[in-house]
Symmetry: C2
Subunit: 172 residues, 2 copies
């Protein structure tokens, strides 16, 4: 925690991976701050009929991270079983509102931690060269692994901004 404002080396990881993980750790730290002590009702709260709940957004973070673990380390898409576990959290919207509710904060934090711990292990097995590896990705353009994992935390930060908006408007 004394290193939370340092984007730098992390023991056991290559230099660029240390920096990437530093940014992922800070993003997660601010997410946890934003949702600290929320009740089940607050986690389920919908700002308006189009809104995602904070709970659904938390599960979305874990789901996106899981997808990129599978995509970048196993080079495959989600299988049917995984889609049924993570689909609502990935798609959000109607599906998220219907399928993700009634869970307490610990439920979400346990899943976030479980997925993140796997990320920590997986990143020990690769290095800076792996981060540079490219393949065709969105819009027929090349993306490298660094970009894909940057996207994991930039998606979290994007939705954390939304969590802050929703939290200010909680009436539950």
């Amino acid at each position: 925690m004394d290193k939370i404002y340092l984007i730098t080396d992390i023991p056991e990881y290559s230099p660029q991976i240390g920096r990437l993980l530093s940014m992922m750790n800070y993003a997660r730290f601010t997410t946890l701050q934003a949702v600290n002590s929320l009740s089940v009702d607050q986690l389920d709260f919908l700002m308006d009929p189009e809104s995602n709940s904070i709970g659904a957004l938390l599960l979305h973070f874990a789901a996106v991270e899981y997808v990129y673990q599978v995509y970048t380390f196993e080079k495959r898409e989600l299988n049917e079983e995984e889609v049924s576990r993570w689909g609502a959290a990935l798609n959000l919207g109607e599906e998220g509102r219907a399928g993700i509710r009634g869970n307490d904060l610990e439920f979400y934090l346990n899943i976030l931690n479980e997925v993140r711990n796997r990320t920590f292990e997986l990143f020990k097995t690769v290095n800076d060269d792996w981060l540079e590896q490219e393949e065709e990705f969105w819009n027929e353009k090349q993306a490298n692994h660094y970009f894909m994992w940057f996207h994991v935390f930039e998606d979290e930060i994007n939705h954390r901004g939304q969590i802050r908006i929703i939290k200010k408007r909680l009436t539950a």
Copy 2:
């Protein structure tokens, strides 16, 4: 633009600065996509009485970036003249709602570009070692320059998430 999904080296910059700028460029690219073709009324739209306008958030991005230029390259706080120019955009809320409105998209994009172009020039003058330099920052903890500039783009991504929420609810 063919490199928009690559976090990698950029000519004229040191390796870590190239990666940092790659992330800043992608964040800005998605901001510009989110606000593309918005009218003055849409840029001024307030989702509710507590909301920031999209226009105010755009000016906030430029203001934050300017603050960190001054803070990290000149090692000083904003002077009085700069505070009067950027204060409303930095503070948002009441001050932003009162002071930032009636501007078209070009107004905001010109300021964003002007500030960003200065960032591009400034980063040519430093290197990876500079990014590692630490000083006491928030909560009496050390932060390095990399963190400070990471924060510039993570703040933009946070508010871009909010822009997307506001944009979906535009009635103007």
